[in-house]
Point group: C3
Chain length 302, copies 3
């Protein structure tokens, strides 16, 4: 009995993404471009995993800068390709600061990735995330529970999804239960984007990536990624790194595929969560554009 059946969902049929699909070439180009250009993506992120986010961005070929003051973030946005914003470990001043920052990024047409950590928990976080509805990110990277919660906070839901609600920072929902919420959030992002672009990446046992039209399931990765803190945050940061050189759907696919391949390699080389983290950064560094772009990708058939 599959997980999808267990959760009462009937999974839609999928087919393998063709070897010559233009998306694969675009993913290859994104991975290669980051290695060639070392783009700067800045972050406003939580204190738990901030070091891993920066190191993952460096290991993937980019550079990193982390800031919290609007004057810093807005100054740096003018000189970098994309920004990563993660709402973990909130401080009191973030509510005003993130309002100012997201408005400025929106006005500038600057691309950014949102990681709505623990969406649905805490009055301050709820206020922050709700306010982002009208100045939304270019990409959302989250677990299933967070995507479902964001969909509800933004009033996009039409009652299809049945979230169990958040459980701290861990997802209590299967990725597939967030499929329709992810599609709705992606369409909302695209409607607000000046170029009509946007994507949502849902991390889980099998990742899901969508631009609101096409939906992809990315098998692989390794369960040890849930035994270190920050694999998801680092994925959000590296998605911003790719967003410096590629369109949102391509950036989201490239980052998730790179992370799955790196997780598999690290699992083979390690013997516990400590050595896994070390090997994971080495793997991000070592894995090449060919390996990423030829990964198995399943597209949900329409």
């Amino acid at each position: 009995m599959s997980k999808a059946t267990q959760s009462g969902l009937h999974l839609p049929p999928t087919h393998a993404l063709a070897a010559d699909d233009a998306l694969r070439a675009a993913v290859h180009q994104a991975v290669a471009d980051v290695r060639a250009r070392t783009p700067l993506a800045q972050s406003f992120t939580n204190f738990v995993t901030i070091n891993l986010v920066a190191n993952a961005q460096l290991a993937s070929g980019g550079t990193a800068a982390m800031s919290y003051l609007p004057d810093d973030v807005i100054d740096i946005a003018a000189m970098c390709g994309a920004t990563y914003i993660n709402v973990g470990t909130l401080l009191p001043f973030y509510k005003d600061a993130l309002g100012e920052i997201t408005s400025a990024l929106h006005d500038a047409g600057h691309r950014w990735v949102l990681d709505p950590v623990a969406a649905g928990l805490g009055a301050t976080r709820t206020a922050i995330l709700t306010a982002m509805r009208d100045v939304p990110p270019t990409v959302v990277r989250a677990n299933a529970s967070e995507v479902i919660a964001l969909d509800a906070l933004w009033g996009l839901s039409d009652g299809e999804a049945s979230p169990k609600g958040p459980a701290g920072v861990e997802s209590t929902d299967d990725v597939d239960t967030a499929l329709m919420a992810a599609v709705r959030v992606a369409r909302h992002l695209r409607a607000a984007d000046r170029d009509g672009l946007g994507a949502v990446a849902v991390s889980g046992e099998t990742d899901l990536v969508t631009d609101g039209e096409r939906v992809f399931r990315l098998p692989g990765g390794d369960a040890t990624m849930t035994k270190i803190t920050g694999a998801g945050c680092a994925l959000g940061g590296v998605t911003a790194t790719y967003l410096c050189v590629a369109e949102p759907l391509v950036a989201a696919l490239a980052a998730s595929l790179l992370f799955n391949r790196a997780g598999e390699r690290a699992a083979r080389e390690s013997h516990g969560p400590g050595s896994f983290q070390t090997e994971f950064l080495d793997a991000l560094w070592a894995i090449d554009a060919d390996t990423v772009s030829t990964s198995t990708v399943l597209e949900v058939s329409r």
Copy 2:
């Protein structure tokens, strides 16, 4: 000449904890239950070692969430088994936030572990720790100097202890000099607890754990644990993880024993503080309930 003699203390006689003491079975159960249930323990902790705390909780079998806003911490407390609070790297708003949080935890009967980092230093920290006297934690995990300072701040001391005072975050006192202070603090915790439970763990060359009645000395561990930052904080965090499934004395014993065994194993596998930290997380993951529960434990004879 022993350290105890040097410091002018006569160490009380001890005897080995019997193989069939009920505490050993309870420690075994705690270690196994955490592996089976992956309980969530949240943390309000310092920025230096926050990543290691989370990773140690994950490697020990639990899950982690870190927050600073009262609305976050109080929301999460309602859905998790225990909370870890560490007063390192204070920010200005912590004084009010920690007052609100500790009162709410007390009113809810929620179990929590206090790590009174650098107790005795700084007017803000002194105010924060003093205010905790009336809404105290379930477990205190600290070094000898910090336990002695907390005993004094809370007015529990009757002049027996002779603290040298704090020296930053490093202890300047032997664990055994804190014996009476630890007993007094533990009794204070139990008097304030609705179930009459509480424990104090003093970390050092030989750890000391007490519930205010029984006193245990835990030999072992490795000196390299003092050459990485955060072994003590991580121990506090994992004590909270065990506190989700076990009573305070058992949780304190289980966490300290797991850390000593992991430290010994990591020392054998590593060749410096960098590889020690990696191997330490791997060892937390690998060491089983039998190894922890059959450790040498010396009980102070009464």
Copy 3:
């Protein structure tokens, strides 16, 4: 065509520092004294690399304490040998806090190291760094762009340097382009110091260290040091550790030489940025005073 020629600078001729130069003996003594005395150097530093700063200080033989509240920092300054202040990841209250702290350190004649991360970016950072002009540090540790920016912020420049301006936290300038700025900043530090001492260390492909009179170029290190976050911050922290036992020029030289030797060793032992960081901490621990003090040092001829 050399980099210096490319940037339009004519590099001054250098000669090797003699094996019996008194500086080498002083560097040897500093490294040995830190191992023997485990001095405490405290830090007020950014959240990205705070863990690596502390672990690098411990691996180099010292101890660490991190704080942000003036009452904490000023209390600890009274009991430690030196302080490290890094202006990355600013929070709103830092402007007032750092003003209070740097004035107190200046009044007490307490030695401290400034890491002017991203100098020139952000109105708050500019205000903080400008205010330090009159209560300056004992040592500045920075990349070339930051030294050039600090020289300009403090009004020391006479138009010789041609900074390209900051690019986030990465230097866009060669170390040698900062030579005259570094000399001017070092002279400013010395003029403000009650003992007339001070030094500037510029990190890059070839490090540059000066006390405003003598100028040294330190070849070596490894490019992987730029593929992990925080090698520069950790160098600033360890410079403060050495400043507990040695004069500013000696501390700056010893720390930079130790880091270059450790970087070379870590590069040989690792196969990516993850394992590099692990091996780097092991190397800081393993490298001895002889290796550091007999390093190649090139002195700019006068």
